[in-house]
Symmetry: C2
Subunit: 563 residues, 2 copies
């Protein structure tokens, strides 16, 4: 970006067998000084599809985005659905690596086709939200392109800023939300990346027959599963399917994580979302990426049928709903739309708003008071800049000590006191508080979420599983067939590339990914002191179960010793 040049490079052998999150981790450890200023010229912003991205395999097109995080100060990968991962892979690009910084205040768009990658001025888009940025880019380049963009939050270098990716319809906005990668993109002077993969040919397959057979088996298992099939909760309700269960567990963040169940949770459930949406002529069960057989998404519409947000999801319902004392999906959806448009992580923003409400700057349950705060973020006022830095900075500035965060990053919608496996993941994952790094919710019948027993073993298993998904481009919802039989993933990789991997090779990749990330964080200055749940959660019992977070520090410190 300092020379405003684009360059195509061959993939070095060191990177060849890596994709998505694993590739990002390796590039960071190899090329980025771990102690660099995350918003300075030495950091790199990386876009990488997973190993299986761009193929006909269902649910395989998630796009990983990464860099040193301005939020956590450590390694960061966040991924999103939509067509970005598939398009980048189909363009024959293993990773797009953005280096350097342009002159202060300059903004650009990067347009990529099969033939060329070109940087063009985008200063006139400076004040636009992500919806308008995508619309302008599509006016310029055609409606079929995929647009990755930042909103006001990213341009203002806010640590709660994510990168938005367009999806299956005009309203669809999918964020690689976490860790402030939107601020990193802003620091590179990049307002948008436009991918035009129309002219791209199908990707080569080393063993087309095996690949097709494996892909067919994967899709069939998903379709026939009672969870992911057409009658399954994942298709019918999407991620919001779990609202009622998490609330019942007492882990549903309520009013800045001061309680684990919300009196109005029934108005926020997946069932309610489906009823309302279908009643009003919205959409349920849409795919976020071409060819996904699960199709978990929705287009939430207002009472007269106008689209508000696609897709309304569980974490957002928790953080912008119960966490703010808001018990209306319409209100949550409107706040969500603002976050998407401003290019904000709805988890980080929701947590910051909860902290602000505890400080008296908004009122729990009062949508307008939160809308006003989000608008402060979009205008870049001082208050907005505080909130836009996320929950930790908001708490520090406003003098609030109850800040639900780990490793600098706000917690998603599972209070770690009542789902302790997630507490372990929040504390120990190189990513900080991130449910996608290893979510113990699905294992609540196997390991008692209120007990301390077995939480570290469970979290490690889940973190290794997430490492596989995030590096192949597979969606978390599509995990059952590949978790049940790792050979299936190996067959897919081998038939795509001809590497002759065994299950042991795949597992080694997963372990190496975590080790690489841990090494980066260690060099960046993270220690066991960062691998902690906030002190107040170890002291203040969470209603209704009156539990504190009490997994022993020593157990968490030893979690990766067997890697």
């Amino acid at each position: 970006m300092d020379r405003l040049e684009t360059k195509w490079e061959a993939v070095s052998p060191e990177y060849e067998h890596l994709g998505g999150r694993a590739l990002i981790a390796r590039i960071l450890l190899t090329e980025v000084p771990p102690r660099c200023d995350p918003l300075g010229p030495n950091n790199k912003l990386i876009f990488a599809p997973g190993l299986l991205g761009g193929t006909s395999l269902s649910s395989s097109g998630r796009l990983s985005i990464g860099g040193k995080s301005p939020l956590t100060g450590g390694v960061k990968e966040a991924n999103c659905g939509g067509n970005g991962g598939s398009d980048l892979a189909r363009l024959g690009i293993k990773a797009l690596v953005v280096e350097g910084q342009p002159a202060a205040g300059m903004l650009y768009q990067l347009h990529i086709t099969k033939e060329r990658a070109e940087l063009l001025p985008a200063g006139e888009w400076r004040g636009l939200g992500t919806y308008d940025t995508a619309a302008r880019a599509r006016e310029q380049w055609g409606g079929d392109c995929t647009v990755l963009s930042i909103g006001q939050a990213g341009v203002f270098l806010m640590s709660a800023a994510g990168v938005a990716c367009t999806g299956h319809d005009e309203q669809d906005s999918r964020l690689a939300a976490r860790g402030g990668l939107g601020a990193l993109m802003g620091s590179k002077g990049l307002k948008a990346v436009v991918l035009d993969a129309e002219a791209a040919a199908a990707l080569p397959l080393a063993d087309a027959e095996l690949f097709r057979a494996s892909a067919r088996r994967f899709a069939t298992e998903l379709i026939e599963s009672p969870k992911t099939g057409r009658k399954g909760a994942m298709h019918l309700y999407g991620t919001s399917a779990i609202v009622a269960a998490v609330n019942e567990m007492g882990a549903f963040p309520t009013r800045n994580f001061s309680a684990g169940s919300f009196e109005a949770a029934e108005n926020l459930t997946g069932q309610r979302l489906r009823e309302l949406t279908l009643e009003r002529g919205g959409k349920m069960g849409t795919p976020c990426m071409a060819g996904c057989v699960i199709a978990c998404c929705n287009q939430f519409v207002d009472p007269v049928g106008n689209p508000v947000v696609s897709t309304l999801q569980y974490e957002t319902i928790g953080l912008l709903g119960s966490n703010l004392g808001i018990g209306s999906l319409d209100e949550v959806a409107r706040l969500n739309r603002l976050c998407n448009d401003y290019g904000l992580d709805s988890i980080e923003a929701g947590a910051a708003l909860g902290v602000a409400a505890e400080a008296g700057l908004a009122r729990f349950g009062d949508e307008a008071s939160f809308t006003a705060l989000l608008d402060e973020i979009a205008t870049g006022s001082v208050l907005g800049r505080v909130l836009g830095q996320g929950a930790v900075v908001t708490g520090r500035v406003l003098g609030v000590s109850r800040v639900p965060a780990a490793r600098g990053q706000a917690m998603p919608a599972y209070d770690p006191r009542a789902l302790k496996g997630n507490g372990v993941t929040y504390a120990t994952s190189p990513m900080g508080a991130d449910h996608t790094a290893g979510n113990a919710f699905g294992n609540r019948l196997e390991v008692n979420p209120l007990g301390t027993e077995g939480q570290c073993e469970l979290s490690l298993k889940l973190q290794l599983g997430a490492a596989m998904l995030d590096s192949t481009g597979l969606c978390l919802f599509a995990r059952p067939p590949v978790f049940a039989d790792p050979q299936l993933t190996v067959d897919l990789i081998n038939s795509r590339f001809g590497w002759g991997w065994s299950v042991a090779d795949l597992e080694e990749m997963q372990r190496a990914l975590l080790q690489t990330e841990l090494a980066f964080n260690e060099e960046a200055g993270h220690t066991a002191a960062d691998a902690r749940i906030p002190e107040y959660m170890t002291r203040e019992p969470l209603p209704p179960h009156k539990v504190v977070f009490d997994v022993p520090d020593a157990e968490m410190d030893a979690i990766f010793s067997a890697l």
Copy 2:
């Protein structure tokens, strides 16, 4: 503070041979969980005179205040002149340790006499600055008491808040400024500590004759020295004596550390300060503590002779003067008065204001624009709360990457690019950027300040020397006799306590102090990644010498290996 009780405890053997900073470090490592929330109930606020405090020895009454720092997240000791150290020692108190937290929002004063220590409500003082707080306390308890208090900044839990101590006249305000100890005091619900040592008897001496002889020798050497005697620069100009020299070296922070010499520096020199002050009927050469033979302080008055601030000092002139583009001592003094009154570290506040000016929130050279920002701090507005958190948070929120800080703490008035020994101290000292932890300015003829050679050796030597001063209660200005002959300090300690120490014992205490602090920081999560000068200072040359900070990381990482 949770039980609103005071308790007198005998000194445990482990603490017996420690004073001031050394005692604080040991208490912290022994009693305070290094990873605790600095503003939570598990941190402790400690007031401790040095070993020689309360005696008739000149310049020995500095009061150390400490705890886990809300600014750096590490160990913290800041000390101040005035009569606080002497009074506490004469009351027979080795350390005042404040534990726990009262109910939210409650404020107290602690009144201590020879007979009793009593907590009394002080809610009605909530909105008062430190001058009014001290005046109210003296109305209540008499004009001779010493008042330690926090202003608005401490009550708002701001990390730039210090603790103010009254001194020799009503205008005198001396801050244990650094590291956010005012916020820690605020988190304990303590608005003021009032020391009434009038009834205190003289402290016992193990060998009165040796003590008096040693104290006499110490005073005589100070009086006869060309530096500290009546014709010396320290007496004539105080700390401001060095303005011209630092400016000439090109290390005088100018406009947010963007240059090392200031075009209006001649209006800020010690000579100018002395001329102006004497012309207007102010005072020069006053002592801050009873019996000091150096007497380096001043009472700066306005053009019609009204007191503005006592005492106007070098670091403040740098940070609130040249760093803000302000070339008038009257303007600096007015800004200094506001900082003192609001209970703000003038270094941290000045650095935050410089960053704010770079972000466009004030104009370099325009006093009124900075006064307005300081007033925001006092009212606790959102902008004020940002600035009150210090330079690092201000930079992060406002999107400024040029933030002159190390280990989270703003740099004092020596740009580390042009005085590299101080850069090493800023980076490696357990305290963060702190000139009193080891100031290489005085050694500029011995070690080239622009070179990389010998800086770590010099800094280590100075850090060990500071460890001695900060633990005995001796003022930095009084160092020549005791640095020249360590046996003098040993004689003073032995004749006071009868411990039979050798010079080796004294040196062991100094080494142990640094090791204890480093151990606390390590457990708190500090690593080599924290022991760095900001990246931009290693990249952007400082005019006029066009130098970057380039002491090799590996040398700094090894600085304490010989301890």
